[in-house]
């Protein structure tokens, strides 16, 4: 099913909202993408890693003599050697005593943690050398369960930190106690979101080359993260202008996890240490067990207070998040949900306790939605429980609790204003697209035959904009309020337009975004516009494409730059025509006097700007170039002392309707229907928006039904390969029907909002709600993901 842009959109814009082929796609189908592992340099050497075999152990000896004797091996580096000459990697919490380095020091804190790095002329030789290195360990007791980690008597992951609890804070927004006391009904629930991740098909890869002649470290990496060059420079102790990260590298998927900061610091160290360019391309095992790329691993306790109609007055949410051995930025994934803590519902007060614990597992990292998917899962399952308690259906409970369209901008208890939306209308569209009443007849008929069938409904707020103010929310010493994005645009003497952006892309279509918006503002065919990715020294401030933010912030920066140049060109034309700028206007790509007596074409204006200084308005600088840097709309404010904060500026919305059938004999789940309605404000490219949503749904199906990093009792990862860690193939993802709705944001230049994470945030909730509806005749349910066939068979006994 193809999404048609709303007719209003087509009238308003020439390119925005119309079907256009994404410009990036051409190079990829030709096999001409340029990924990090494709970068070659003269004398390039390669890295392989010796991992820890134990979840927790003291490293007593390392014997690398046989490895060093192997022809082609340049050398090895151990943790103590590296640690003596680098600073710890950045943690975003204040957690003294928790030091994170690329290689383990005296203690290995999880099975798979990197212990030794080998550098050789070929990857295969480096791997041979890994097999020849003998590491002696003295095993220590490990803690693997997040609740066990709360126990002060549990084995200490970082003995120099007071406990395994890295963060614990209870926020109270509004009159929670009074609301609970006044509510006729309460319900306590518990949910488990097991450890999974986005697992891009490209593993992390980074190549670095240190040039002593210029004291410059060049880095090519498959990276998607903010503050990447800064963290490399800090850890290696070199000036920030001594690090050049090349963002003209195609990134083979990320969805949050392509952080690779320890990888980059390691190869940055190795290239300086050995004096040769060094490349590290994770193999799948290194990626899965030691890449520090697992996602949230959470327990939720949710208590709701509501009335007899199921209208929710207040929520108490406690979440324990297992960060693994090194938390990095991951605890902040409990911070972002603060900005949408009530979902789409008009809930008056909330108590939210966030607890981060450390365990002997690989470190957690950002995953699509930055923590919102688990939180939305807990919220939506709670809504279904309330519906059953008061005896209304899943659609009605949501209707009764939705924030109403006239209430925007709507401030939720935790202080964030939602910009715009029409949740009842979008939900109604989803129900109509799914033909809900027909599905209900199907379910009744199926159940009459003894089959196990259910319908799930879920909604989701998708915050967009990437105001990472949760840094300040979770750390009083972090006063960062600036989360900029930028665009540089120039028009050359032939009139050709080029733009430069300061980030790498991992499939989001930023070149299409920028060229479409420039084409729209300039009234020029977007395919004639060149968009390139700057390196970190040439580029302007950027916070990277996280948090569904680029349509909003890069979009606004692009429009801002284009409007500025257009204004300059009009002034040039007017001056050359001997008129005031106010007497002239743009007609397509030509500036005309309003009395139609004279005009200057695009090319004439470009030539005046570049070649004929004598015809430029006095004082104007030659050429046609500008830059535009934006702060996130509505950003720039620190949280209040009680933790109220304006998180992201824009709030997309989606509603999913899912029908499933479960085989009683095998527990296998099949989809009867998957329909959703989606509202991300003004759509810029319909195919890209659709792809982002459908891809998020597929990823959410994986989280709901298949994907889990499972550790054995000794803390060894059992799901290390793609044969064990199951990702959905084309057989596991159903046909998804989708319809768009458009509620523009009042806070962006064209009304656009974010897209990219919402499908993943909604789908696990929708699928498990459908499963629970199917299981309801058995008087049972599931409260965790992933839900396996065995889980279902047990409950259907």
């Amino acid at each position: 099913m193809i999404v048609e842009p709303p007719p209003s959109e087509l009238r308003r814009h020439r390119f925005v909202g119309h079907k256009r082929r994404p410009v990036e796609d051409r190079r990829f189908v030709l096999g001409r993408g340029r990924f990090a592992a494709d970068i070659t340099l003269p004398h390039l050497h390669h890295v392989a890693i010796v991992p820890s075999r134990h979840a927790h152990a003291r490293i007593t000896a390392i014997d690398a003599s046989a490895a060093l004797a192997l022809p082609g091996v340049l050398g090895i580096v151990t943790g103590p050697q590296l640690r003596a000459r680098t600073k710890p990697l950045r943690q975003y919490l204040d957690i003294p005593g928790v030091d994170w380095f690329p290689l383990a020091g005296e203690i290995a804190r999880y099975a798979g943690e990197w212990v030794v790095a080998v550098v050789a002329t070929e990857r295969a030789i480096a791997e041979d050398a890994v097999d020849l290195i003998e590491v002696s360990y003295d095993p220590l007791p490990a803690v693997l369960d997040p609740e066990a980690a709360l126990d002060p008597a549990s084995p200490s992951v970082h003995p120099s930190h007071p406990s395994n609890v890295l963060y614990r804070r209870t926020f109270v927004w509004g009159g929670v106690e009074a609301d609970f006391a006044a509510a006729p009904r309460t319900l306590a629930t518990r949910y488990r979101w097991h450890r999974s991740a986005t697992v891009p098909i490209e593993t992390f890869a980074v190549t670095a080359a240190w040039e002593p002649g210029t004291a410059l470290l060049d880095v090519w990496a498959s990276v998607q993260m903010p503050q990447f060059p800064e963290q490399i420079a800090d850890a290696l102790g070199i000036p920030l202008n001594g690090v050049r990260v090349h963002f003209d590298v195609d990134v083979g998927g990320s969805y949050g996890v392509k952080r690779g900061i320890k990888h980059a610091v390691l190869v940055g160290f190795l290239t300086r240490h050995f004096g040769v360019p060094v490349s590290f391309v994770e193999d799948r095992l290194e990626n899965m067990r030691g890449g520090d790329m697992h996602g949230p691993d959470r327990i939720f306790d949710v208590t709701a207070a509501y009335d007899d109609r199921g209208v929710v007055r207040s929520l108490r949410i406690r979440t324990i998040d297992d960060e693994g051995a090194y938390p990095g930025r991951s605890p902040l994934q409990m911070g972002k949900p603060v900005g949408a803590i009530v979902g789409a519902y008009a809930i008056g007060s909330v108590e939210y306790e966030a607890i981060a614990v450390t365990t002997n597992k690989t470190g957690q990292v950002a995953v699509r939605g930055f923590g919102q998917a688990p939180t939305n899962f807990a919220l939506e399952l709670t809504m279904d429980r309330i519906a059953r308690d008061v005896g209304v259906d899943a659609l009605e409970i949501r209707r009764r609790n939705f924030i109403q369209p006239e209430a925007f901008p709507y401030v939720i208890p935790s202080g964030t204003a939602y910009d715009s939306g029409d949740y009842p209308a979008v939900m109604a569209k989803a129900a109509a697209l799914a033909d809900l009443s027909e599905l209900q007849r199907w379910r009744a008929a199926a159940r009459a035959e003894g089959r196990v069938a259910g319908i799930g409904i879920a909604s989701c707020i998708e915050p967009g904009g990437g105001n990472a103010i949760f840094q300040a929310l979770f750390n009083d010493n972090d006063k960062t309020t600036t989360f900029p994005e930028s665009c540089q645009v120039k028009i050359d003497r032939t009139g050709a337009i080029s733009a430069q952006i300061g980030i790498a892309s991992s499939g989001q279509g930023h070149e299409t975004l920028v060229s479409t918006l420039l084409g729209e503002i300039f009234d020029v065919e977007p395919d004639e516009i060149r968009v390139i990715h700057a390196d970190s020294l040439a580029g302007l401030p950027s916070q990277s494409p996280v948090a569904s933010r680029m349509a909003i912030v890069l979009g606004d920066a692009t429009v801002g730059a284009a409007r500025r140049l257009r204004e300059q060109m009009l002034r040039i034309a007017a001056y050359d025509l001997g008129r005031a700028p106010g007497d002239c206007a743009w007609h397509g790509t030509t500036v005309r006097t309003k009395d139609a007596s004279g005009e200057r074409t695009w090319l004439e204006i470009a030539r005046i700007a570049h070649l004929f200084y004598h015809r430029l308005p006095p004082g104007m600088e030659p050429g046609l170039q500008t830059q535009f840097v934006v702060e996130v709309p509505r950003g720039g404010t620190l949280p209040t002392p009680d933790g109220r904060v304006q998180m992201y500026p824009c709030h997309s919305f989606s509603a999913h309707v899912v029908a499933v059938e479960i085989d009683r004999g095998t527990g296998k789940l099949s989809f009867r229907k998957y329909a959703l309605a989606h509202d991300c404000g003004t759509v810029i490219n319909p195919d890209i928006v659709r792809g982002m949503v459908l891809g998020g749904v597929a990823h959410g199906i994986g989280a709901a039904l298949y994907e889990r990093f499972i550790y054995d009792a000794d803390g060894r990862l059992l799901t290390q390969t793609l044969a064990d860690y199951l990702m959905p193939t084309v057989h596991e993802v159903p046909l998804v029907e989708m319809v768009e709705h458009e509620t523009p944001s009042p806070f962006t230049t064209l009304g656009q909002k974010g897209v990219g994470e919402g499908g993943y945030m909604s789908t696990p909730a929708a699928v498990v709600c459908a499963i629970n509806d199917a299981l309801s005749p058995f008087g049972t349910r599931v409260d965790h993901v992933p839900v396996t066939p065995v889980d279902l068979l047990e409950r259907m006994r």
Binding site: R21, P22, E24, D25, R26, R27, F28, V29, L30, G31, R32, G33, R34, F35, A37, D38, T40, A124, T198, V199, P200, I201, E202, T203, D250, V251, G252, G253, S254, Y255, D283, R284, S506, G507, Q508, G509, D687, I688, R690, G691, M692, L694, G695, G696, V697, A698, H699, T721, L722, A723, M727, T729, V730, H731, V733, L735, V736, G759
Partner: protein, 159 residues
């Protein structure tokens, strides 16, 4: 490390090299021939990103040794376009349907689907899904890929 001479016809061009016995076909294509369109995602035969054609049959080049391809005709994604610039009908359909995002799995998807359309010029939806089930895409949710193969079939890509 023992090395063996191989002669392989890659994208219509005969190449002769001496390769270590343990070198995978994927590494041979990428590192020896600089055909980096073939991507390596898992190195254990699951993800399908490294799919190429050997004597017209789609195979995973990460779990085939280069020496096993001695004497064979190998086609990579770089060989799909007749001149390296013009898109084949299937490549064109992938762009038209936006059957990709990050582009990493795309070469393998294209090779799998090209083989399907050659065998079955007008496949059903189920046949398309069966053929592509050995290739994992993490970006798209597959729907736009399936649509692209359907579009290419309608455009006569399999003729």
């Amino acid at each position: 490390m023992s090395a063996y001479p191989v002669a392989i016809t890659v994208n219509g061009k005969r190449v002769e090299r001496t390769v270590p016995a343990r070198r995978s076909l994927a590494d041979f294509l990428r590192d020896d021939l600089h055909l980096t369109g073939t991507h390596v995602g898992c190195e254990h035969g699951i993800c399908g990103a490294c799919t190429v054609h050997v004597n017209g049959v789609p195979v995973r080049s990460c779990i085939l040794y280069a020496v096993q391809a001695d004497g064979a005709e190998v086609t990579t994604v770089e060989g799909l376009s007749p001149d390296g610039t013009t898109l084949s009908p299937l490549q064109d359909a992938f762009v038209e349907c936006h059957g990709l995002q990050c582009g990493f799995c795309t070469p393998g998807m294209l090779m799998a689907a090209t083989a399907l359309l050659r065998e079955v010029p007008h496949p059903t939806d189920a046949e398309i899904r069966d053929e592509l089930a050995g290739n994992i895409c993490r970006c798209t949710g597959y729907q736009q890929i399936v649509e692209a193969v359907q579009l290419a079939a309608r455009a006569g890509a399999g003729r």
